[in-house]
Amino acid sequence: MNKFLGTALDSIAAVSVVLLCLLIVSNVISRQFLDSGVPDSTLLVKELMIPTILFPLASATANRAHVAIDFFAQYFPARVNFWVAVFSGLVGLLVAAVLLVAGWQELVENFTSGAKYASDFDLPKWPSRAVFVLAIIFFVLRLGQVLWQDLTAAVTGIPAPIPPSNSDF
């Protein structure tokens, strides 16, 4: 289930990349041959950037792909490193919680006010906020799961499982 969800979120991000790529190319072609770009293409690309970037955060977290400096920590005793991992998770959770609450407030505000972009199609602002909140919810869930693994490792002294990396890119 976890793997499926991670793959699904990454796939949605990949679909968003394809869409924004096609949108940008269509805009270039349209500008070249029709003397006018695709309406709202810049805004749509910006909107697609939210799922492109934020949905993979959950799998990046599950894969422990967030960059950290190992140099000094490698000299710490294993037990200390277990608790540092727990502390890291808590710090991450603080950041994620702030973004989640902030995103939720923005979503509610934009939804209730019916705020729109000043664009050709008067697109509403709330969908991108909703995607932002959804992505951060998945991120928080994954972070909670990783934190639980690290906490278990810290208490039992048995290292948390290391997820296989699926990409070098």
Partner: protein, 446 residues
Amino acid sequence: MDPVTIGYLSCAAVIILLAIRVPIAYAIGGVAVVSIFIIFAWRTGTYMPARAIHTTLSLAFTSSFDLVHNYDLSMIPLFIALGHVAYKAGITTEIYEAARVWLVRIPGGVAIASIAGCGGFSAISGSSIACASTMGRICTPEMLRLNYDPRLATASVAAGGTLGSLIPPSVLFIIYGIFTESSISKLFLAGILPGILSMVGYALVVVLWVRKSPEIAPASTDEVSMHDKIMAAIRSWPAVLLFLMVIGGIYGGFFTATEAAALALLFATGLGVARKLIKVNEIIPMLASTMATTGAIFFIAACAKIFVALIALTGLSNNLVGMLGEANLAPWLFIIMVAVIYLVLGMFLDPIGIMVLTLPLMIPMVESYDMNLIWFGVVIVKLLEIGLITPPVGLNVFVLAGVLEGKVEIGVIFAGLIRFLMMDIVVLALLIGFPIISTLIPTLMR
């Protein structure tokens, strides 16, 4: 406590968190939200948490959302995906093969070809780590098969991989451009000559090294006819076309860097499908495998944006600029100081982390000296490149060692890199001493 002091304490807290292995994004994001809350909570002299919470949330959302909700930054997922697609579509292998067949009979020729291959891959992808990882799979096993010394077989690729950041397109240039509000197109063009200079410098290292110790690179006995050489050169047309599309398009003013990224990705994918190396139903899973990297990079940048908001609130940059003014430091001394700071940071931190952490403090100081931000960007990226191959945390070295699955020890790779690092220092000195190397092409831009 005054905001400037909070600013200094925040920087110290970030350093401590990073040192104990808290991920960069969490460290800078966590410190930023706590510090912003503290500043607003005590702003009026009395503790007012309710107002501070609202302002902190608002600042955190605006900073991170606006960074992601950005048209120009869509280049990053596009160029990262392009690197992967180019590999799958066989374009990367063709670049290396074209260089290899022409140089294979020369002593050290395959190492030079690997460096040239890295340069070629760099011209279609924006990541040094992707470059080292991809070329490490293709070139290093070939050199080991030809009995090249493992130091040369690995170091040439690890060093060549750093070209990914300097030769456009480059993720580092994109992030630098966003954080300094500089033209990304001009930064791309500014990286061309320094990238070529670095590439030639690395090739020179191989030539001199092999001349001194011929046994490290036995000449290949493989027979390659002129027909094979010409065919290999012709087969590398997609890479040439991609480079021309990206750079020619930007330079000629036909399209922006973002548009170039999208066109190049579409072309490379289409070519892969036409060659039956990529199946249509594989495109989404293939792109999905690059998404976690993109997400992790952006999360660092998004948290850094919150940190930038904190720095602006505290007035730390102005304080540092004031101190710099009082110190009356000569510009050349300032640049040397910057180089030392970045070289030391590069030994421990990853390039994107260094960039997003230091730029908010560094750029106001650079502007106070009236220095060219495009040139400064090239110098910074070169310094960060050096950090990718310096011990103890040379990311390219670890990536390459991982790709080779333990066939070559990390210590051996670092030993081989000493000569390349010396050349990097020479190139860096040239870039600092002769800014025209970086500024020539952007100034000729339409």
